[in-house]
């Protein structure tokens, strides 16, 4: 049939040309300038209206929220654990004590991390009572408890500025994610265990890896400006070189802090590997 016949190329080109600009009717892309004007005006108005609608609804929504505390904490009922320093990619440290380049970055990262806890930076902070929540719901501005580096023993950096790395006893810091209003039950502590590898001893500081309750609850970064997160230091004391160990740290001693989620490998626990060579 005729409709299947291919139009000659010139004709097709001509049609396209006429579509792009038709001198007869003054149409550009099938519309007159006036028509294009109207269309653009219409869409300008329409999208202007949409933008206004969106802005208005967002504004109303934001009005219902507080600046200090998020409305819900549905997804973060229980905190995750992370370590400092953090190897790039997977959590696998590969240390060679004869090659400082393999751990210099980690030392720098630790120093950076501990700067907040230096004595002079905590001078104006409170010395709180151990073992109880530091409730200050009605106190403004919120006060912060001191976290003393001394409790971290050999990992405090006060005596050993290299945090044991050149000696084959690297310090790794375990921290628990901040969650506003979290009040751990019982006596939460970080317990680390060697999963693979034998000739290694683990030492946690403060004693037993305790996270003192006085650092809870957290009131959010706006209210709780100088908040110091409690940290647990883990010193991995290698008994011999040239071995790889897998270590898992978990929160224990607190029924409301979960540490066995199947899908979230960092909920209340953290696992990492260290290989040490000479």
């Amino acid at each position: 049939m005729t409709k299947d016949e291919k139009k000659p190329l010139e004709q097709t080109l001509g049609e396209w040309k006429r579509f792009i600009y038709n001198p007869g009717s003054g149409e550009i892309l099938g519309r007159t300038a006036e028509s294009w004007g109207l269309i653009l005006l219409f869409y300008l108005a329409f999208y202007g209206f949409l933008a206004a609608l969106f802005t208005f609804t967002m504004w109303v929504m934001l009005q219902t929220l507080s600046d200090e505390t998020p409305k819900y904490r549905d997804q973060i009922s229980s905190p995750g654990l992370t370590i400092v320093p953090k190897p790039p990619g997977a959590l696998e440290f590969s240390l060679n004590i004869s090659k400082p380049a393999t751990y210099e970055n980690y030392i720098d990262a630790i120093k950076e991390f501990l700067r907040e806890y230096e004595g002079k930076k905590q001078e104006h902070l409170l010395q709180c009572r151990n073992g109880t929540f530091f409730e200050q719901d009605n106190i403004f501005p919120k006060k912060t408890c001191k976290f003393s580096l001394e409790t971290l023993g050999p990992c405090s950096g006060l005596n050993d500025v290299n945090f044991g790395y050149p000696d084959g006893n690297p310090c790794i810091f375990v921290k628990m994610n901040r969650i506003i209003g979290l009040r751990p039950q019982g006596e939460p502590r970080i317990v680390c265990a060697v999963k693979e590898g034998t000739e290694v001893n683990l030492a946690t500081f403060p004693k037993d890896g305790r996270l003192d309750l006085m650092y809870f609850p957290y009131y959010g970064k706006k209210l709780h400006v100088n908040y110091r997160q409690p940290v647990v230091a883990l010193q991995v004391q290698f008994q011999s070189y040239n071995q790889e160990v897998s270590i898992e740290c978990k929160i224990e001693g607190s029924p409301n802090l979960r540490n066995q989620d199947e899908r979230d490998k960092f909920l209340g626990r953290v696992a990492f590997k260290i290989s040490l060579t000479q």
Binding site: M1, S35, L38, I39, F42, Y43, F46, Y47, L50, L53, F54, T57, M58, M61, L62, L65, E68, T69, P70, K71, Y72, R73, D74, Q75, I76, P79, G80, L81, T82, K86, P88, G89, A90, L91, K175, N177, R178, I179, I180, Y218, G220, K221, K222, H224, Y227, D261, R263, D264, K265, F266, L267, V270
Partner: protein
């Protein structure tokens, strides 16, 4: 045996059935072309995208793999559904045709055998008699008053004589050839088989059908157009964002993944299923109204029809001779020709009527088949020819128990009708015991009957047949003949008792009784009357802008009369001949433009060039083709198609099949149709009634409108599914909605509402507008695309984003933080990402929040799609004018949307791959304001369209 050899050589004497497409091909055909090609392309892209991702990262997300799989499953399932639907209607058709094995009486070696007709071979001598179907093309050797009905071949409905003389060079015209599949009406003949099987004349016509190409259906063209639009939009957006992604320093491979993702997001996965189901729902509805559609796409074709070429006999008419007029006492009376003939209102008090009714009753050989006591008179089967049957039924209706009356007037002798005498005569005893006279009754061709009369009965009195009564007779005869009716004359004579005592022995051979100087009683004219529903249907067609052309093998006068009575030629329009007659000028001098109507005979058509035919079709709105052969139907159909019309053609015979196939929609007759016609056709009329076509057209137009609504509904949320991905690319926010959730919208929540739109009633009288213009009234026009994509679609996206931002904000991530957060957000080893409030999140906690975002966005789109389905109920009227609750299925659809979303969000959806989370109850209502805005905005659009027809707004916003 020689016969066996020839049989082996030539094959059996049967028409090879039209080539049926193998089932597997039919099945596969459902899965290519149109929408399906879009989905296949999408599936291939999915796999490519997955391979790219997999080559990069062995643990790549399987989403693309799932999507590809789902696309293929959708295509296959929809294909299976469509195949099943069509196979079902094909089966219904097949059950109509029961092959009756036919036998032929053959003389071989001087002995008569009865053998199956298919074993006939060239050179066989066969015997045929009245009522037989001629078993092959034969040359007549001997004939005793043999008459055949060649109507299925040539269209001539009058019986044709067959003798052994060659009367014409053209075998079709020659009297000594009997054709395969025609029937012998009366007499006997012997003939020699000269052609068998496919080599017969009818066989050659039938094989012509397979060489006629089938055109693409209009809806297929529309869907192709739609696919082009969608593909164009998808590819353009894809390429634009590919370039943007490259400029934003994404890696090329990532940009390619984005490109594929964008194209995929544009594929309307659910639409093919929704369209197929909607078409089959309409097909089902049509089947209830006696239109059985074989090919789902033909459902819509019927709606776009602009010309119907209709058969006369059986389609427009009742296909039975019926008494139409009576003339006695110098007056024409009209008889009721409706299907039940209940209201015979003519004057039955005259004594002339008493005499006439007696003749009608007695001079008639037709009888009811026994055992039909409970059947209504009109439905009873009669043995006898059509005219006699008509008269028998007429008498039965008017006078009651004819058989009983005939018994009382015992028949003494009779001469059956034959074409030499042109009359039929019988002599009866009277039912009056005191009247010992015999009554001679006679009927026949009016002029022959009049010749035999010397008196005429007026008001029961015999009067001499003077010039004025002859003139009155002539006038009445002309008038009734001019109505296209078959006129019969009736006369009688009471034989004087003294000459013909009751023991007189009548002899037919010597004709020892008077056959002249009879008393003329009256005329009765017969016609195959129009079906009573047809005139309304024709009026409907006319107001719907559909041209109805009658194509018949009948005589032009009859054809014209029927055309007038059903309105194909309207009361005040004239043909060229009418004008010539009125103005008393020669036909050549008439200005052809003045004549709206035209009656063209097959002979005239044969002489016409295609240009002349085009001119005829273009200049006349009311056309009747008479005395046409079925082959000429093909010429007419092609002529109509040259006018850019969408042509529907009815047909029943084998020889109609080329035209049926050529037509945009071929309509075969369910009762009278041959297998070949049914196979070639797209649709079968179960009741053979023209008005069923019109109801079919109504459904076809409705589904076209409703498909527009369905597509508009479906396209809208496509944008709401695409924008998140675009924002994700350019603003680096966490992904607002994932592939699986999109699939659950397309193939879950949206399926039932979109199908429900197929049940929407018409907004205004769809039979009052012109048929849609093939090129201008597209299924998907730019108004529809722009309104759905750029207005409602964008509005919906904004609503979705509002829900998305709400969820993130209330959980701690404010919108400003989200911008360009993606590299950190998606970092697997970052398990202490800080939110806007200083809290820290593990990767999985963020992931879970992201899924909650998907769910919220999904629910927002679902909520707004509820508004969308409501606004799509109408395109111009307010939803309230249409009735919010009139279409119950819409509410079923809305309920299904909500139920599916609730199920997904309430735990079921949290199984690993699906990634739905449980939403806090208030998030379900976040998008409600947007849904309300959609509804209000569309009502506003419709209001302006209604109030300012033809305005810029109307042209831009009405789809």
């Amino acid at each position: 045996m020689r016969a066996a050899e020839i049989l082996a050589r030539d094959g059996p004497n049967v028409l090879s059935p039209p080539k049926e497409t193998p089932e597997i091909i039919k099945f596969l055909k459902q899965m290519i072309g149109g929408f399906s090609s879009l989905l296949w392309a999408g599936a291939v892209l999915c796999f490519i995208a997955y391979l790219i991702e997999f080559s990069k990262d062995k643990s790549a997300s399987l989403d693309n793999l799932y999507l590809g799989g789902v696309l293929i499953v959708v295509v296959i399932l929809t294909g299976m559904f469509a195949y099943y639907q069509e196979a079902k209607s094909t089966n219904i058709i097949a059950s109509f045709t029961k092959m009756i094995p036919r036998n032929a009486l053959v003389i071989r070696n001087g002995e008569k055998y009865e053998i199956p007709a298919e074993h006939l071979v060239l050179g066989d001598i066969v015997e045929i008699k009245g009522g037989d179907q001629i078993p092959a093309d034969i040359r007549i050797l001997t004939s005793q008053g043999c008459k055949v009905d060649n109507s299925s071949l040539t269209g001539e409905s009058e019986p044709q004589f067959r003798s052994c003389e060659v009367t014409h060079e053209n075998p079709l015209e020659s009297k000594n050839i009997g054709f395969y599949s025609t029937t012998c009406l009366e007499g006997t003949a012997t003939g020699m088989v000269i052609n068998t099987g496919d080599r017969t004349v009818i066989g050659r016509i039938a094989s012509l059908a397979s060489s006629v190409g089938h055109e693409k259906t209009p809806i297929a063209i529309e869907i192709e157009h739609f696919v082009h639009i969608v593909a164009g939009v998808a590819v353009s957006i894809g390429i634009v964002f590919f370039i943007i992604a490259i400029c934003m320093k994404y890696r090329v491979l990532d940009a390619v993944i984005f490109l594929i993702g964008i194209i995929l997001a544009n594929v309307p996965e659910g639409l093919v299923a929704a369209v197929t189901v909607s078409l089959s729902l309409t097909a089902k509805r049509m089947a209830k109204k006696n239109c059985l559609v074989k090919n789902l796409e033909a459902v819509e074709t019927l709606g776009s029809t602009s010309i119907i070429c209709s058969d006369k006999t059986g389609t427009l008419t009742q296909n039975r001779m019926t008494v139409a007029h009576l003339w006695f006492d110098n007056e024409i009376y009209q008889a009721d020709t409706s299907e039940n003939q209940k209201d015979q209102i003519f004057d039955q008090s005259s004594a002339t009527w008493t005499s006439l009714s007696k003749i009608v009753m007695l001079c008639n050989r037709a009888e009811f088949k026994s055992g039909q006591e409970s059947v209504p008179i009109m439905k009873k089967i009669v043995m006898g020819d059509a005219s006699e049957a008509a008269l028998l039924k007429f008498s039965e209706v008017v006078m009651g128990d004819v058989i009983e009356r005939r018994k009382k007037n015992r028949k003494v002798v009779e001469i059956p009708f034959n074409s030499v005498n042109k009359f039929q005569l019988s002599i009866h005893e009277t039912d009056d015991p005191n009247d010992k006279r015999f009554l001679l009754v006679m009927k026949g061709a009016p002029e022959r009957i009049l010749e035999k009369c010397s008196t005429i009965m007026i008001n029961g009195q015999e009067q001499p047949l003077d010039e004025s009564s002859v003139k009155a007779f002539q006038d009445a005869y002309m008038e009734l003949g001019g109505l296209g009716e078959r006129v019969l004359g009736f006369c009688h004579l009471y034989l004087p008792e003294d000459e013909f005592p009751d023991n007189y022995s009548f002899d037919v051979e010597s004709m020892n009784f008077p056959t002249s100087d009879l008393c003329f009683v009256g005329l009765i004219s017969l016609i195959d009357p129009p079906r009573s529903t047809v005139p309304d249907a024709v009026i409907k067609c006319r107001s719907a802008g559909i041209k109805v052309i009658m194509v018949t093998g009948d005589h032009p006068i009859t054809a014209k009369a029927i055309a007038r009575s059903v309105g194909i030629i309207s009361a005040n329009s004239e043909t060229v001949e009418d004008i010539a007659k009125r103005l008393k000028i020669p036909v050549e001098k008439v200005n052809k433009r003045e004549a709206k109507a035209a009656v063209v005979s097959g002979m005239e058509l044969k002489e016409m060039s295609p240009e002349q035919l085009d001119e005829l079709l273009a200049n006349h709105t009311e056309i009747v083709f008479a005395r046409t052969s079925p082959q000429q139907k093909l010429v007419i159909v092609e002529g109509c198609q040259r006018q850019n019309a969408i042509v529907a053609v009815t047909g029943d015979g084998v020889n109609d099949s080329p035209a049926l196939k050529k037509a945009d929609i071929g309509i075969a007759m369910g009762c009278a149709g041959s297998d070949a016609a049914k196979i070639a056709a797209d649709m079968v009329l179960l009741d053979d009634n023209f008005s069923s076509i019109v109801t079919g057209i109504e459904e076809g137009r409705l589904i076209f409108d409703n498909l527009k609504k369905i597509i508009a509904f479906t396209l809208t949320k496509n944008i709401a599914e695409l924008i998140p991905f675009l924002i994700f690319i350019i603003a680096g926010v966490p992904l607002p909605i994932g592939t699986i959730a999109i699939l659950f919208i397309d193939l879950g929540t949206d399926i039932i509402p979109s199908i429900a739109l197929a049940y929407e009633k018409a907004e205004s009288d769809i039979m009052n507008r012109k048929p849609r213009h093939k090129k201008k009234d597209r299924l998907v026009n730019h108004q529809l695309a722009l309104y759905s994509y750029l207005q409602i679609g964008i509005l919906q996206s904004v609503g979705g984003f509002f829900a998305y931002f709400t969820v993130y904000t209330v959980q701690g991530f404010k919108p400003d933080l989200l911008l360009y957060l993606r590299p950190l957000w998606e970092n697997d080893s970052l398990n202490d990402l800080e939110d806007s409030y200083g809290q820290e999140w593990t990767k999985y906690q963020r992931q879970y929040l992201e899924w909650t975002g998907y769910t919220a966005y999904f629910v927002a789109v679902m909520v707004q799609q509820i508004a969308d389905v409501i606004i799509r109920k109408t395109r111009i009227n307010s939803v309230f004018q249409q009735g919010l609750f009139r279409n119950k299925y819409i509410w079923v659809g809305i309920a299904s949307q909500i139920i599916i979303a609730v199920i997904l969000s309430s735990g079921f959806g949290s199984i690993p791959v699906l990634n739905f989370t449980t939403l806090r109850i208030q998030y379900w209502f976040v998008a409600v304001p947007y849904a309300i805005v959609i509804w209000l905005y569309d009502e506003f659009r419709k209001l302006l369209v209604r109030h300012y027809p033809g305005s810029w707004w109307d042209k831009t916003m009405y789809y």
